[in-house]
Symmetry: D2
Subunit: 343 residues, 4 copies
Amino acid sequence: MRIGLLTSGGDCPGLNAVIRSAVLHGIKSYGDEFVGFKGGWRGLIEGDYTEITRHDVRGLAREGGTILGTSRTHPYNHPKGGPENIAKQMKRHDIDAVIAIGGEGTLAGAKRLADDGVPVVGVPKTIDNDLKATDYTFGFDTAISIATDAMDRLRTTGESHHRCMVAEVMGRHVGWIALHSGMAAGAHAILIPEQKVDLDQVCEWVEQVHSRGRSPLVVVAEGFIPEGDDEALAGKGHEADGRPRLGGIGEWLTGRIEERTGIETRNTTLGHIQRGGNPTGYDRVLATRFGMKALDLAHEKAWGHMASLRGTEIVQEDLASALDGLKAVPAERYEEAKILFGR
Amino acid sequence: MRIGLLTSGGDCPGLNAVIRSAVLHGIKSYGDEFVGFKGGWRGLIEGDYTEITRHDVRGLAREGGTILGTSRTHPYNHPKGGPENIAKQMKRHDIDAVIAIGGEGTLAGAKRLADDGVPVVGVPKTIDNDLKATDYTFGFDTAISIATDAMDRLRTTGESHHRCMVAEVMGRHVGWIALHSGMAAGAHAILIPEQKVDLDQVCEWVEQVHSRGRSPLVVVAEGFIPEGDDEALAGKGHEADGRPRLGGIGEWLTGRIEERTGIETRNTTLGHIQRGGNPTGYDRVLATRFGMKALDLAHEKAWGHMASLRGTEIVQEDLASALDGLKAVPAERYEEAKILFGR
Amino acid sequence: MRIGLLTSGGDCPGLNAVIRSAVLHGIKSYGDEFVGFKGGWRGLIEGDYTEITRHDVRGLAREGGTILGTSRTHPYNHPKGGPENIAKQMKRHDIDAVIAIGGEGTLAGAKRLADDGVPVVGVPKTIDNDLKATDYTFGFDTAISIATDAMDRLRTTGESHHRCMVAEVMGRHVGWIALHSGMAAGAHAILIPEQKVDLDQVCEWVEQVHSRGRSPLVVVAEGFIPEGDDEALAGKGHEADGRPRLGGIGEWLTGRIEERTGIETRNTTLGHIQRGGNPTGYDRVLATRFGMKALDLAHEKAWGHMASLRGTEIVQEDLASALDGLKAVPAERYEEAKILFGR
Amino acid sequence: MRIGLLTSGGDCPGLNAVIRSAVLHGIKSYGDEFVGFKGGWRGLIEGDYTEITRHDVRGLAREGGTILGTSRTHPYNHPKGGPENIAKQMKRHDIDAVIAIGGEGTLAGAKRLADDGVPVVGVPKTIDNDLKATDYTFGFDTAISIATDAMDRLRTTGESHHRCMVAEVMGRHVGWIALHSGMAAGAHAILIPEQKVDLDQVCEWVEQVHSRGRSPLVVVAEGFIPEGDDEALAGKGHEADGRPRLGGIGEWLTGRIEERTGIETRNTTLGHIQRGGNPTGYDRVLATRFGMKALDLAHEKAWGHMASLRGTEIVQEDLASALDGLKAVPAERYEEAKILFGR
């Protein structure tokens, strides 16, 4: 087969490992040829691609980012998009199948294309861990690793100054990064979009910890909204295009905690470092296995399906199941974490 | 309740995180008291313990090792061991339950004690990932992380000198560390105890890679035995007490590869650095959740049971299931990895 | 001797290593006793201290922060401060000498006290590397290490999205952190307080890099002021107490670059993670040697002097020399770095 | 100018950063052209080289190893070597100058060639820090960083098991890596080639630490020879080609300590991971500055000279001064470290 690869959506450590393993598996096991579309769906729609040889994927398991580039182009919204044009492009360039690596939006596009007869399979990608169709995705573990390391550093400074430290992590709609990195770092409060918590409660946790002579660490997901403070937060949050506005929730919260408790408080917004750089060993293994599975799916003509992790196994899932709403942090996982808050 | 904790067997990143979360959960949710037995079962048998307060577990989520110390004492083999003495010790010191954190041997002891009426629950611990009763254990991810990082370093040196690099990792009976770290590092051959591979095959992989102008990376688990070479290996391997002998399999293999292929080859035996130091975020989360679950099991009087990871959930397993033979790397996982060998 | 230690000013990796080595050296070589003043000069002024034994400094070489806590109290501005009260406190508690570990302000206070007859020696501390009296201080290398690692991550994301990435690092008055971390990360522009650069120049560098198909990385010290834009920046920068205001120079610059060049641009403000956590090996060695030297200075009654690094040697410097203005980045070092900008 | 670059001797983190900065500086400041000789002097002697463009050095500041490859070929010992042939090769390929990056042997060769009229300048490279002609070389800080991190891990395992841990680090002739990494990790004994220490003394230090309930950490350079034990060590050490024999000094010492003290003792030989992988920020800055200086030296026709670090400045040194014997650890530096041994 002659297979086209594309990476779409936000950057994520492990994309290159997927590309590498799909290509190596295809060349070795099936004698496949590969092309890489540049800048996600745009490359496919515009026929902008490059051949990918074994040499091109050399050493990629450990490299962050994507050699193909990425964009937020949607296969149906682009002026030249849609299944007919895409099928035409594939035919013109003699491409038998597309492996689309991306998040919810990408997989939704892939599903719709497959339903419209385009031979597409998917690989799920999200550092946010917000897809129901898989236990975990690559990129999430790297984000946890980076955030945990950063919080370990914040804690020593907090203790030296007897300050409260606030760390704002990624997670506009779900709180998985905050939950796991906060638990790993021993945070005294974790605030996530799925759970309303009011400022009084946050300040109570902070004060409990401070009164024991310790320095409170508060982890907040960028999408958290404090209960009863929607107004205060109006105009906060994010731009339409997903870019954080000046002074996100971390900054806002820092001011409120200091104001109410009188405890010196400092914010750090971890930002883009959470989604770049070399993937962890965990993410490289997962991405490598996903890449091989996606290649197998293409050979099985399992269009409209994607690779997925269930327990320790890589299985196949219908892309439809990836699109059935975001995977929120369940209430019981938050309750579990909450046991360690405060005091 | 008044609960005793013990850590037993080889060191493992995450032990302190288990201790911390069990203690914090117990104090906060149930008003429990805690003691820590020193040096594993020995401390329990000899009544050598210390009280553990909230202050003692402060900051422990990130610390490697175990504040309780560990040993290889077995609860039945110790002269003063056995269920009656242990029950007596618990009564004397007013201890209602024991949480035993350890590997296969420890859990077997815990199971037998529970069967003999001692109130014990377990937490599985093995950096080797060799327990069937849980998807993963804490410590494994940290070992992968350390080994992967080391191999990334070996590769640049291999490339600079056009050498073959051999990395010997832990895994006397199972090859999980070799499999995952080798896949993460893009190894060209992975050799594990579960799979017989002969030297001709290894050298063929090495030569394929070298002939493409690249530097082969061979990852070998300490317990790997090359097919047909038992004799050559006689006297190699490990001492009765588990200590590696001078010149383990990595050294041996390095000599053979160089001899047969004429390619300059170097060995690095990663050794004890794989099991020490700060746990990864992944392992901290898992250990923290295990600690809380074990505490709940004690309150549920689920004696003879242990915490276990299944998919993304922490569940309870009968300790008997932990003892049903080692969890070997399945043939299909090795075949999956093998796709990327050689060439 | 009975010696008091204090740490003062902002947190800095290596403070604990200084404390440890001074204490171990004193106990072993001279039979000294040690106390630690809590919260910097405040502890000395108020007689708030604790005995420090060998046990207390165990394992401290690798720990970030300071076990003594720190504050910004000045020995002369505190209501009960001044040389007479301090001498009285020292006499009351039988303390023969003080080792003051801190930055410019701390060392100025130490100098003045020594001139007023109080037996004080100093250890220089600044992550900013802004002291003329020593080649380097501990904490600086750790800050470079953290910032470089963060920028490595930002670069992969920049490349994946063909974005310009801006990284704001510490350095309100001097640009050493920006200079070294930017050079280490291969930045395409480095902007520091010592050098006026106008926006046109910055945008030209950014466009040169972007036009070659690469993703520009711009590193900016928090204290940089673009030429001719003082007005635009009015109200930006920092609060009186040193806390960054919402939207520092990194945010501001990001907006301007995007506006003018049309290239998608993102800011990351590294913030407090640059000054916390475990010190690098380099900083541990330097801090350890400083601690031992300061102890020797106390025994030599070299009041008003401090430990200093010159080349590879630890020497003694008059505290007066530490206070002779900030050590700015010399023009020739900036010119050297500039060779690699743009294009 | 048209300038040839070569890297020679053992691998070292920072080689690629030297190449990159020399090339970028040359292209931008002087309009130079560059070629890279493959495999050190061999490439020069045999005319085996490749053009190096700006594109080829992209992203190299952070990459370990050398894109040019390396070897131990000597410019005078190779059958086709010697100044006449080399000059002829340079003329044939229109090369005006050579920048040779390497250790003592390489720089000796460069000096002799320069004396014989070949236009060569040098860049010092050694992870061992054994060159008198410069305060530090790139690669050393990375080695310290890796070794320190490994020892931090060994310590937690030592403490958990109440064992003595031995770490063997690089340093066949000088003990700088052992000295700095041991001091950084808080080692209880550091053993280096420059200082004779007998086993009784080592065991006394180990026992002092163990008797306080702590776990001794012993750091030994591979070239250390215990006093009075030359016989016992006969046959130990290294092969003629520099490869460690089975069971180096670390293994040997581990056996002796356990034998004499009865304390369970374990060895870890860090090996090749010390010289591979991404350089630290410190080493990237130093290597970058060295590369730019070497390029300037070529334009100044300062043949027979090399870049050198003195304090914080990059200066020029005669290559002769690089060859005036190894830079050993001075006795006073060992005495300084020794203060923290034992107890």
